[in-house]
Amino acid sequence: MGSVISSFERVMMPVAGRISSNKFLLAMRDAFSMLLPFIIVGSFFGILEWVVLDPWGTIMGENGLNLGHMFSGGLTGDAYKACGFVATMQMLQGLCNNVVTVGFGVFSFLLVAAFAYRLGGIWGGDKFSTALTALGAFIIITPQQIVGKAGDKMGAFSLDYFGNKGVLTALIVAAIASWIFVKLSKNEKIRIKMPDTVPPAVSQSFAVLIPVLATLSVFTIFATVLAQANLFGKAALNDLIYAIIQAPLMGFSQGIGFSLLYQFIVWFFWWFGIHGHNVTAAVQNMVYMPAQLANQAGDASYIFSNGFFEAGLMHIMGLVIAIFLFSKKASWRAVAKLGAPAMLFNIQEPIAFGLPIVLNPILLIPYILAPLANTVVGWLLVSSGLVPIFKYVVPWTMPLFFGGTIGTGSIMGGLLQVLWLAMDVCIYAPFVIASNKIKDTEAEEEEENTGAS
């Protein structure tokens, strides 16, 4: 067994290393993490808007806590609809929605800036100029007119192009624009040089003049050609990329097969002590993140989203409980006690490396089986409509029950996590009991001593 594992590890370490050190993927991951605060703030206001303030929502509505009935002085039906309280709530909802737009409505727009900023850094260009140029390119390929109901054309942007549907377009445009811009701005021959007496800020703006001109021109020509070609009946790049790449990709990633494969890979890497989520970040960012954004925006109901998988991080808690209930090993009980507080916030490392789960042949099966079983059960319950989809973004460190409840905006989401926990305890229990019979190695004896001190 030992040699099998070590030969496996010899294969997996370089694979993980190569994926993680890919500059391109690294910049993408950094860009997404730069935007995470905006998504979480946007989500917070989304919860305020749709759960707390909505006159017909969970808190105010008559199907929920019905506080609106009380605040409006006992009004119901049409009288409630027309009263001042409801008008105030709707006004506040509108204000909240403005913040939601920052985190979700224009997410792709922010992504262009963040990704280009990081790529500029990697390729050695001026970061901020790269970000601005990429934003310019993104605006150029975005339709700048919308057609009104009466068929009249107005100068305006449709938010559709800036939200979750534009994620892939944003990544592609930012990458190409940054590459052209940085390559050209490093070329000395086309740099406009200013005398030394000119302030640096001014000479910098002249230095990038030609690269900006060239980059934006390339995109203008490209957008014109594309509009004339009208491929698949789509005149705009955003629509084309969404139709031929992003939509099929999203559909494919929503299959139970793909989702199970994703979970399997993540936890298999973790079993080797390699950060599985770090290795698979590209998949997460390209499909499960946009799925989450689409859910929040109300554009779609994707079962498998970031929120769904992050809610499932708690499965190791099942192991902790199984150890408390069934383990006769002092060393295991000590580690479980040590790691339980962190695990409450879905931080599994103390358990994973302390027990250890990592490279432990007995725990390999439940460690992978538990998240897979959770995924299947979650998939069944969400698709049957019993549990709402995971809509709101919660930090992944949110304790179980609370994470699911806030993420779905319903207590059913929290109960799903409790059900998962019960399943996980049952899945881990036989393996914990089996390990009672295995004699402690010397290393673990030493553990017992330090654990007891």
Partner: protein
């Protein structure tokens, strides 16, 4: 001296940091210990005396070494010490790396 611990998000290493600080206080050592995400290492690296990686991102050791450019020692934290949150042992390892 500055001891920096990096992991994917800086969450799990921050637990270890607290234990290491306790251990340092016990021995009356004047060290600054901090945990953060590997993504922001490039901004912090100039002030580092030792950089330690969480074992879960040990596959990124070569990247981290590239960022550090030999300015200070870099190593991966021992898995068991990491899991058992043995602040004293990790601190001792860090000091040994720094040659102090």
């Amino acid at each position: 001296m500055n001891i920096y611990l990096v992991c994917n998000a800086g969450m799990s290493t921050s637990i270890l940091v607290r234990k290491m600080q306790e251990a340092a206080k016990k021995e009356n050592l004047d060290v600054h210990i901090e945990a953060f995400s590997v993504e922001i290492l490039d901004e912090k690296v100039d002030t580092a005396d030792v950089v330690l990686l969480g074992p879960q991102i040990r596959h990124m050791l070569n990247d981290v070494k590239k960022v550090v450019e030999g300015k200070c020692p870099v190593d991966v934290i021992d898995m068991r010490d990491y899991g058992m949150i043995r602040g004293d042992k990790v601190l001792a390892a860090a000091l040994k790396l720094a040659g102090k």
